[in-house]
C-alpha cells in the first residue's frame, strides 16, 4: 500500500467511530420505522396501527394507574426467574464443566432439553405450581436455565489447560486461582450465556402470562388479542421490544468488552 492510499484511508475514517456507529444504528431504526409505516399504509388501521398512534397509545397506557401493577408483576416474575436461571445455571454449568465425565454425559441431554418446545410442558407446571406467580417464575426459569448451563459448561471446560497448569506451578491457593485464572478465563462466555438466558427467560415469563394468568403484561396482551384491540397489542409489543433490546444491548456491550480483553 502506498503512502497516499494510507492517507486516504485515514481521511475516510470519521473522527469519532463511536458516533458513526450510533448514527448507523439510528438510521437503521429510522428504516425499520419506515417499513412499519409502509406496512401500516398497506394493511390499514384495522390490522396495524401507525408508529405515531402506537407511541401515543403507549404513553396513554403509561399514564393510567391500573397499568403499573401489571408491569410490576411481570418485572417481579422476571426477576425471580432470572435469579433462578442465572445462579442455578451458573452453578450447574460450572460443576459439569469441572467434572469432565459428567459434562460429557450431560451436554447432549441439555441440548435435547433446550430444543424442546417447552410450552407443551406448561400445563404440567400449572398442575404442579397452581395458577399465579410461582408457575410463571418456574416457566421462565426452565426457559433460561438451560442455555445458561450450556454456556457455563463450555466456558469452564474450554479454559486452556496451560492456564490451570500455570496456576499450579505458581502454587496459587484455590481462592487465588479462582480469582485470577478461572473467573477471568470463563467470564466472557458466561456473559454470552447470561445474555441468551435473559432473552429466553423474558419470553418464558410472557408466555406463562399469556396462558392462564390474571396479571402481567402477557395477560394484557392476550386480553387485547381476545378483544382484537390492535392499538394496545402494538403498544405493548413496542414496550416489550424496547425493554428487551435495551437490556440485551447493555449485556452485548459488556460481552464485547470482555471478549475483546481476553
Amino acid at each position: 500500500m502506498s503512502a497516499s492510499a494510507v492517507d486516504k484511508a485515514a481521511a475516510a475514517k470519521p473522527a469519532n467511530p463511536a458516533l458513526r456507529r450510533w448514527m448507523d444504528f439510528i438510521l437503521l431504526i429510522a428504516g425499520l420505522v419506515g417499513v412499519w409505516y409502509g406496512l401500516h399504509l398497506w394493511a390499514g388501521d384495522v390490522a396495524l396501527t401507525s408508529p405515531y398512534a402506537t407511541v401515543a397509545k403507549l404513553i396513554q397506557l403509561m399514564g393510567q394507574a391500573w397499568f403499573w401493577p401489571h408491569v410490576g408483576e411481570t418485572l417481579l416474575a422476571l426477576f425471580y426467574s432470572l435469579l433462578i436461571a442465572s445462579v442455578g445455571g451458573l452453578g450447574l454449568g460450572t460443576l459439569l464443566g469441572i467434572h469432565r465425565l459428567s459434562g460429557q454425559i450431560a451436554e447432549p441431554i441439555l441440548v435435547a432439553l433446550y430444543a424442546l418446545p417447552k410450552i407443551t410442558l406448561y400445563p404440567l407446571i400449572l398442575l404442579i405450581f397452581g395458577l399465579g406467580l410461582s408457575a410463571k417464575v418456574a416457566f421462565g426459569a426452565i426457559h433460561g436455565i438451560i442455555p445458561v448451563t450450556i454456556f457455563a459448561l463450555n466456558a469452564v471446560r474450554n479454559i486452556k489447560p496451560v492456564y490451570l497448569k500455570t496456576a499450579r506451578v505458581m502454587r496459587l491457593t484455590p481462592l487465588q486461582a479462582m480469582r485470577t485464572v478461572w473467573v477471568p478465563a470463563a467470564l466472557p462466555e458466561i456473559v454470552s450465556g447470561q445474555r441468551i438466558g435473559f432473552a429466553l427467560t423474558l419470553l418464558g415469563v410472557l408466555l406463562g402470562e399469556m396462558f392462564a394468568s390474571q396479571q402481567g403484561l402477557g395477560f394484557l396482551i392476550i386480553n387485547a388479542i381476545g378483544l382484537n384491540d390492535v392499538p394496545t397489542i402494538m403498544a405493548l409489543a413496542l414496550l416489550l421490544a424496547l425493554f428487551a433490546v435495551t437490556v440485551s444491548s447493555l449485556l452485548l456491550a459488556l460481552d464485547r468488552k470482555l471478549h475483546a480483553r481476553s
Partner: protein, 251 residues
C-alpha cells in the same frame, strides 16, 4: 456405543423409571401426572383409533414449511448482511435481542392480513427460526480462515468457485448449527402459536385437553411431541458428530 453413551442412556432410563415409580406409588398424584407407561398406552390407543393422524399431519406440515423457509431465506439474508459490514454492526443488537420479543402478539395482526389459515402459523414459525439461521450463517462466514481465502486467490478461483469450494465447507459446521436451531425454533413457534390461539394441531389439542381436565389425552400428546422432537434432534446430532469426525480424520 461408548461408555459415556451407556451412562447417559442409564441416567435417562433411570429418570423415567423413577418418575414411573413415583407416579405408581402415588407420591405424584394422578391429578398432576399419569405414569409414563400409561402415557405410552394412551398414545398407542389414540394412534390406533386414528385420532392422532389429522393434528399430527397439520402440525408437522406447518413445521416443515416454517423450517424450509427459515433455512433458505435465513441463509440468503445471512450472506447479504455479511457483505454489508456497516449495516451489520447496527443490526447486531437487534439480532441479539430478537428472541426476547414474543412474536405471538402479532398473530391476530397476521390473521387479519392473511386470513384464518395455516399461513399465519407458518409465518410465526418462520419468524422464530429465521434469525437463528441468520446469526449462524454470519458466524460461519466470520470463521472462514483468511489463509484459505488467500489460497483461493492464489489459485485464481472465481467467486462462485470460492463460495462452493472454500466458503461453504468451512462455514458448514456453523450452518449446521443454524439448521439444528431452525428445526427446534420452527417446532417451538408452530406449537406455541397453536397452543395460544388456533383451532387445530397438536398444540391446540394439548391446550384443549388441559382446559377439559383430560389428563390422559394431554400427557399422551405431550409424550408424542417430546419424543418426536428429541428423535429429530438426536438424528441431527448424530449426523453432525459424524460430519465433524470425518473432518477431523481428514486433517
Amino acid at each position: 456405543m461408548s461408555r459415556v453413551g451407556w451412562i447417559r442412556l442409564a441416567i435417562v432410563l433411570g429418570a423415567v423409571g423413577l418418575l414411573e415409580l413415583l407416579c405408581q406409588t402415588g407420591v405424584i398424584k394422578t391429578m398432576t401426572m399419569i405414569p409414563p407407561s400409561r402415557m405410552a398406552v394412551e398414545l398407542w390407543k389414540m394412534a390406533e383409533s386414528g385420532k392422532l393422524g389429522a393434528p399430527v399431519a397439520k402440525t408437522l406440515s406447518n413445521v416443515l414449511a416454517a423450517f424450509v423457509l427459515s433455512v433458505a431465506l435465513g441463509f440468503i439474508a445471512g450472506l447479504l448482511i455479511h457483505s454489508l459490514p456497516r449495516f451489520r454492526r447496527a443490526l447486531d443488537p437487534l439480532l441479539a435481542s430478537y428472541y426476547a420479543v414474543p412474536f405471538f402478539v402479532f398473530y391476530p395482526v397476521l390473521i387479519v392480513i392473511f386470513g384464518m389459515s395455516d399461513l399465519p402459523i407458518i409465518i410465526i414459525g418462520f419468524l422464530f427460526g429465521v434469525v437463528a439461521m441468520i446469526i449462524n450463517t454470519l458466524n460461519g462466514l466470520d470463521r472462514i480462515p483468511p489463509v484459505l481465502l488467500k489460497v483461493g486467490r492464489m489459485n485464481r478461483m472465481g467467486s462462485l468457485q470460492t463460495a462452493l469450494l472454500i466458503k461453504l465447507p468451512s462455514a458448514a459446521p456453523y450452518l449446521f448449527t443454524g439448521v439444528k436451531l431452525a428445526v427446534a425454533y420452527s417446532f417451538i413457534g408452530v406449537i406455541a402459536s397453536e397452543f395460544i390461539l388456533s383451532g387445530a394441531g397438536i398444540g391446540y389439542d394439548i391446550a384443549y385437553a388441559y382446559n377439559n381436565f383430560d389428563n390422559r389425552t394431554m400427557y399422551a400428546l405431550m409424550l408424542f411431541i417430546l419424543t418426536t422432537v428429541t428423535a429429530v434432534n438426536m438424528a441431527l446430532y448424530i449426523w453432525e458428530q459424524r460430519m465433524l469426525k470425518r473432518r477431523m480424520g481428514g486433517r
